[in-house]
């Protein structure tokens, strides 16, 4: 691995952090215009973060060390997971450091601490959020693994950069397994990032919250880091869908023109994905919690079907 490669990887990781609030702002903007509102500027999330960082952080009397450390752990684990997903170029040494199973593991680590932070203060809402989050993820995580396994088994590699390379070199045939995996992963992404119909990021009613209930007690910079981590996670899933299933346009080298092109293309893809999410959030309503298993079981079923159709139909052929 060259030094330039590592430099590029660091730059790309920073790009993830910088872009994450923009995607959140874009989705809000599209949603507002779909609802005939003008809506805040797409830069509003940055302003929110700046304001929160400047504010004083407060903690409940009952909060322990876990509560204080959790925002940092959540953010860093999510960030490290994102850094291993090709954003602009596939020449990415971090993809060798953390393959796709490690990415899922790091996201699970972030979620583990998020849920513990929810339990830490000892209020009913935090525990409720933690319980629901772990329940949703217990069904979503296997679906996610099955989806990425389909890709990994096709490319004979769990390294995401290799998977993308394989896709680019590939024969461009429409594989049924990919369709299943894509459909399943979209459902997983919606559930894991806490979007409608599983969770509502804009809710103000404690009883219906999942993600918001866990971070209810946070304030100031702690809240800012938690919010930023959530935006980063949304971007991570977006890039995963955009670059792994539709990799065309991503840079395959370190040539500046290709990198610029790669950046422009991925921003375009994310804008389309974000708009699609905004549309689906506008036309769908949030489900009751106990309808969520049906939704997630569908995701698991789709991804398992994808993997099975791969090993049965595509391997022998």
């Amino acid at each position: 691995m060259s030094q330039a490669g590592w430099g590029l990887a660091v730059a790309q990781a920073l790009l993830y952090v910088a872009l994450a609030p923009l995607l959140a702002g874009w989705i809000r903007k599209v949603k507002a215009s779909l609802q005939n509102r003008r809506g805040p500027s797409v830069l509003q999330p940055y302003r929110d973060l700046r304001k929160l960082f400047a504010k004083e952080a407060r903690m409940a009397h009952t909060a322990s060390l876990v509560f204080r450390a959790a925002p940092y752990v959540v953010f860093i684990a999510t960030w490290l997971a994102a850094a291993a997903i090709p954003l602009v170029t596939t020449k990415l040494p971090t993809a060798a450091m953390a393959d796709v199973i490690v990415i899922v593991g790091l996201l699970a680590l972030a979620r583990f601490f998020l849920a513990l932070a929810g339990m830490d203060v000892g209020t009913a809402f935090g525990g409720m959020g933690a319980s629901r989050e772990m329940f949703v993820s217990a069904l979503a995580e296997p679906a996610m693994l099955m989806a990425v396994f389909t890709l990994a088994m096709t490319a004979h590699s769990t390294n995401l950069a290799s998977v993308v390379d394989y896709q680019l070199l590939g024969d461009n045939i429409l594989r049924p397994s990919y369709m299943f995996a894509l459909a399943g992963l979209v459902l997983v992404a919606v559930a894991e990032t806490g979007r409608i119909p599983v969770d509502n990021p804009a809710t103000h009613l404690e009883l219906t919250m999942i993600h918001e209930a866990m971070i209810l007690e946070y304030s100031g910079r702690h809240l800012a880091i938690m919010e930023w981590a959530a935006q980063l996670k949304l971007l991570l899933y977006g890039v995963l869908l955009a670059n792994v299933f539709f990799p065309w346009g991503i840079a395959e080298g370190t040539d500046p023109a290709a990198l610029g092109m790669g950046l422009a293309v991925v921003v375009g893809k994310l804008a389309v994905l974000g708009a699609a999410l905004a549309v689906s959030e506008t036309v769908l309503a949030k489900m009751r919690l106990f309808r969520a298993p049906d939704f997630l079981n569908l995701a698991l079923l789709l991804t398992l079907l994808g993997l099975l159709s791969h090993v049965i139909l595509e391997v022998g052929a």
């Binding site: 004083e56 952080a57 407060r58 409940a60 009397h61 009952t62 322990s64 060390l65 204080r68 450390a69 940092y72 752990v73 860093i76 684990a77 490290l80 060798a96 450091m97 953390a98 393959d99 199973i101 490690v102 593991g105 790091l106 699970a108 680590l109 979620r111 583990f112 849920a115 513990l116 339990m119 203060v121 000892g122 209020t123 009913a124 809402f125 525990g127 409720m128 933690a130 319980s131 772990m134 329940f135 993820s137 217990a138 979503a140 995580e141 296997p142 693994l145 396994f149 590699s157 769990t158 390294n159 007690e217 880091i225 298993p293 398992l304 993997l307 099975l308 090993v311 391997v315 022998g316």
Partner: protein
Amino acid sequence: MIVASPLVLAGSAVALALVSALVSLYSARVPQLLRQLVMPLFALAGLAALAAGLGALVQGGVAVAELPLGLPWLPWGIRLDALSGFFLCVIGVVSFAAGVYGRGYVRGFERGGDSLPALGGFTGLFLAGMLLVVLADDAFLFMVAWELMSLSSYFLVAFHHDHAANRRAAFLYLLMAHIGGLSILLGYGVLASFGDGFAFDAMRDAELSFGWASVAFVLAFVGFGMKAGLVPLHAWLPEAHPVAPSHISALMSGVMLKVAVYGFIRVVFDLIGQFHWQWSVAVLAIGSVSALMGVLYALMQHDLKRLLAYHSVENIGIIFIGLGLALLFLSTGHPVVGTLAFVAALYHTINHALFKGLLFLGAGAVLHSTHERDLEQMGGLLRRMPWTGVFFLVGCISISALPPFNGFVSEWLTFQAALQAWRLDSGVLRSLIPITAAVLALTGALAAACFVKVYGVAFLGQARSRHVRRARRVPHSMRVGQGVLALLCLLLGVLPTYFIDLFDAVPRQVLGRGLTQASAHGWLWLTPIAPETASYGAPLVAITLAVALMLGLWLLGRGIRRVRRCDAWDCGFAPPTATMQYTASAFAQPIRRVFGLLFHIDEGLEAQHNGRLRHHLHVSDRAWGLLYMPVARLVERAARHVVHLQSGNIRIYLGWTLATLLVLLWITA
């Protein structure tokens, strides 16, 4: 300086364990002896076993010796090879930690009415039995040592025999241990009759047909599987393991189950030495069911030690998934992937020993200072017992298979083996593996949910009862015992290449090839097949996480002391109290609802005579109703017929004995 050979060290480990048992006989007079001499000797025995195991792994090769014991025509032989060495390490390291920890823990028994010689004596015998099982070189010594292990642990399970429930659990344990032992004995019988002798060398040379090999395999699978706690034979395990003193629970769950795994590997991979895909299907299916049912039942528990015992069922299931994948790939002619799956199973074996030992020691520390096993009474323990809290958190992260700790590495390796399914020719076998992988993924996610529940309810939040609010810190020795295991959990997670190199002697001896490619690209990169297929830079991930965390805390947390405290959000109503927190049962309620069919749930509201309503919830294991109770009823019905023989006249009994003997002689002649 003379370096003792590994075999001598192993022998001295057994001797030290026996001496500790002997010394404890005197502790009825001098109770302090248990703490001051017996437990240090026990820890020393563990250390000697660890040194012997490491020596055997590093040196490779096989050392044999004959003991001046046994029958005239069947002397007991012991043998230390890489496989035994690996399991000596597993036994040694957890025994060492349990011995150190026990110094503080047994202090609680000094004043009570419990029999100290029984505790110390059977603990020593238990360790000696486990060590001898691993060292045995013939079926005879193996069975004697196996019985020594089972019987001494029976007395430890029955240690608190003043509760009827504990006596019942101990009896069930004894019963199951013996049914399992019988099955193992029969398995050895099949091998011995073809191999002409009870020595393992003779069995290795035996030429078995597929049919007889399968009979031996099934007997070994049932026997060792029963001891290891595979579903559906697991129901004794969550009854028996939790009722023993906690350092013994750590040994039983962390180590004794591994001895059963050792037996399975020794018999199937080494002695029978042939692999068939039919067997692998059985192992994969049972392993998957065990993993999933284990974790689901664990989620339903609110007794901390019982919950941990159910997680042992889960983890043994994961180990057997690894072994099943190894059998599958080896039987279809893919030795590289087969070796990978085998190493993954071994890695998970030692990982589970470490983190389960750690968690049971942590549960013991909680029990020691609060006298409470029920999660619903706990809360806020992190502030009362910070060290135990931190070590327990390490155990929770490890068992939930989260990077950068050790549980993740073995799960990662197992997934990597499963992802090679495309190499198989048969479409049916190929499609079996994704289903197993899905079960493994679901198990991991549910385990994480379960340990968020455990840690969140027990260590975070506010205390739910007065005795928990007054919990005191535990003695130093107990913290050190936990700390050793926690450190090892981290090391095995961060430096997997180093440990895989260390364990490489085992697959080289058993399967005839190692996993050298795993560390071929330096200690930073774990590459189980090839660098372009998969790689995991565990040290890099760990260092990045640690450095970024430090940096973040330094940059943003400079004002750590300035964080002001306030009340928690109460929606503008009454301030939240400890009873308003989510309970363990409430936490698991969504999962109970989704997987409801798999449990036997007894839930309802009943009116009490004072007019209030009382909610009751009892989740029990379906294995009882579906397997255990029908068998028990059958045995009782059979016993009612046999009772006619029982006349009370000794001459008639002697007559029956003689007749049986004659029939047996006639059959064997």
